[in-house]
């Protein structure tokens, strides 16, 4: 058993972090939040780093790595608040040509939701429509959709779908593959949330070390220190859960399919919690400035609120976990190797 990052993973992580620090500086995020939506040029630069083809075999131009490697990279994308349909595009890689090099951008429409909203339809070339009976792929312009005038997260533009999703397009996955799509998607989505939580925490810590009140930096007050320590605890617990979920999903030796489902559900619950509570604390630590458009704290919280609605809410995952809780079955299954 080894849950530390390998040298290769660390190199990938640092490489991506460096590029993102350059590509997604605070000014760029602010411009994007002011309405200058990020374009396909930014998308290509991210795709060049290989993030969409991490788990695709090398023979198909991917990296041939595991879901845990992808999770490590998606945490970085989350921490940098990179906008776009990152998770659906990564899930579609290997099924939809052009996703790995960035020429195809895939967003997702979950037809099981009572309200049909799709993200980033302007950026996307394709939409994967998810229904109980399978996955279908359609061109982005095949959807009858109208833009939502004011999206919650300025970096996550939305379209309201009035029709076209249900019967159009080419079938690319069976009902069984829907479960796999949702499971792997929940892992990557949770990895983004861990990144969002970490990014919000880093921003708040920096501010707490600069902002002076009562002749001291506010980071010296225990009330502030403890708020931030709580965020750190949630980030670390969620990150460990996400990595274990990714490894469990990839492990062919996991005897019970439900073991992977439980690991993923726990990861989503913990990652959503880390991002939403951490985003809120991050905003709180910024005081009045935290409530302004200019300070980025609100963008972390809003992204957390977007991501918590994707790939199953924490409540849905918790309800599933509850069905598996019983003293009768509690003897094995604590560790994947048990």
């Amino acid at each position: 058993m080894d849950l530390t990052l390998s040298a290769d993973q660390r190199a990938l992580q640092v490489g991506l972090r460096d590029v993102l620090a350059d590509l997604w500086r605070a000014e760029h995020l602010r411009e994007a939040a002011a309405g200058a939506a990020p374009g396909t040029k930014d998308w290509s630069r991210i795709a060049e780093l290989g993030v969409f083809g991490v788990t695709v075999p090398e023979a198909e131009d991917g990296m041939g790595l595991g879901l845990a490697d992808a999770a490590v990279l998606f945490e970085e994308l989350g921490a940098a608040l990179v906008p776009g349909p990152l998770v659906p595009t990564a899930l579609a890689a290997g099924r939809v040509a052009g996703t790995i090099d960035g020429s195809a951008i895939v967003t997702m429409l979950d037809l099981r939701a009572p309200v049909l909203l799709v993200e980033h339809l302007d950026l996307a070339t394709h939409v994967v429509a998810v229904d109980a009976d399978g996955l279908r792929l359609l061109p982005a312009d095949a959807l009858a959709a109208t833009p939502v005038q004011t999206p919650l997260d300025p970096l996550t533009p939305l379209w309201s779908v009035s029709g076209g999703g249900r019967d159009l397009g080419e079938r690319i996955g069976s009902a069984a593959e829907v479960a796999d799509w949702m499971r792997r998607g929940a892992v990557l989505n949770s990895a983004l949330q861990v990144g969002v939580a970490r990014g919000a925490l880093d921003l708040a810590v920096r501010y707490a070390l600069e902002r002076i009140q009562f002749d001291r930096v506010i980071g010296g007050f225990q009330a502030v220190k403890h708020l931030l320590a709580d965020s750190l605890v949630r980030v670390d617990v969620a990150r460990a859960a996400v990595l274990v979920a990714a490894l469990t999903v990839d492990d062919p030796q996991v005897a019970e399919a439900t073991e992977a489902a439980e690991a993923v559900a726990a990861a989503k619950v913990l990652a959503d919690e880390a991002a939403t509570l951490g985003g809120r604390s991050g905003l709180q630590v910024h005081g009045g400035m935290g409530f302004t458009w200019e300070v980025l704290a609100h963008l972390y919280l809003k992204r957390a609120w977007v991501l918590e609605t994707s790939f199953g809410s924490a409540d849905e995952h918790a309800a599933f976990l509850a069905t598996r809780v019983s003293a009768v079955s509690a003897v094995s299954g604590v560790s994947a190797s048990g």
Partner: protein, 404 residues
Amino acid sequence: MDLRLRPAEQEFRNRLRGWLAETVPGLPPRPPGDDWSARRRYDTGWQRTLHDAGYAGVDWPSEHGGLGATPTEQLIYLEESAAARAPYIGANFVGLLHAGPTLIVEGTDAQRTQHLPRILRGDEVWCQGFSEPDAGSDLASLRTAAVRDGDHYVVNGRKVWTSMAQIADYCELLVRTDPDAPKHRGISWLILPMDTPGVQVRPLLTAAGSSEFSELILDDVRVPVANLVGAENDGWRVAMVTFSFERGTAFIGDVIESRNILGEIADIARSTPAPGGGTLWDDAALRRDVGRLAADVRGLWALIGKNVSEASAGLVPVQGASVFKLRFTESRQKIGDLAAHVLGRAALAVSDVPGVVGGRNGHLVEDRITTLAWTIAAGTSQIQKNILAERSLGLPKEPRWTSR
């Protein structure tokens, strides 16, 4: 990154699981909580059984009689022991997890020869004399004085929260040997034989109604200078060595117990009638709470895996230990509250009462009370948060309010 065990680790697990399955069912019943001499016999008897089977001192290096197990094997040991509901480390806790490992690192050859084999065999029980009535979180302000008199120290003072004091043979004792030095630099770590004249043990009743803890009154107690561990006035550093053992793996079995308790709560809810018909389990809010706590348990187990992996790589998971303790203790207290919710008025009885599904309310209620101590002992949650904020996040240290 890999979740799988190595073949040798899997073999270790299989052998241990087989031995526990043979051994645990034949054990005598556990003695009642406050029969301390019976508890000593039971706990040290189990230690002797472990010793004779070659499982004593799993985490101790083999050159000192331990098993020299890898961190992953230690995890397996604790996991399998909890799953088999083997006896808890109990009275052997301080000897095996604090004093022994401290002597291994800091003790003289004579100290090691005298104590280590006896701790491993269950012949020697230790207690801890660190905290004082006026030195809790601010441990370094301790005042129990040790004054040199020839080849002895004469010790006077009071210690508190000393578990198992009434049945211990030795106490790891922190004393002040230089009252004029800055507070961290005048402390020494002594081995106190509990039968020394002047040692008085005064049991304290806990909120759980147990006399687990005692107060130690030390009145002109003469301790040989040969019992000094580490250098005189270097005891704070030695104590930090002791704490580094405390924060590692002590809670692993308790996470498994969290999961077991949560399972019991769910089972009780599934068969307890709800006032308006159906069962308590029909309440979606209750199921959501259970599911969220189940996620906690899984997250904590993942975190243990990460901490153990860091230890295997030769790192000390300092941040991981504080993160784990904070989340685990908070989560277990929530589980206790949920148990009380499901038990309803049966949560008012620490002993079993008729009418509860499965008839086992008592241990759930007792656990709810006992675990109140967990956010306080071994570094309160507030101290842990200071540690994380300062060491991991780089926020300013707490101001030093005391002059020393």
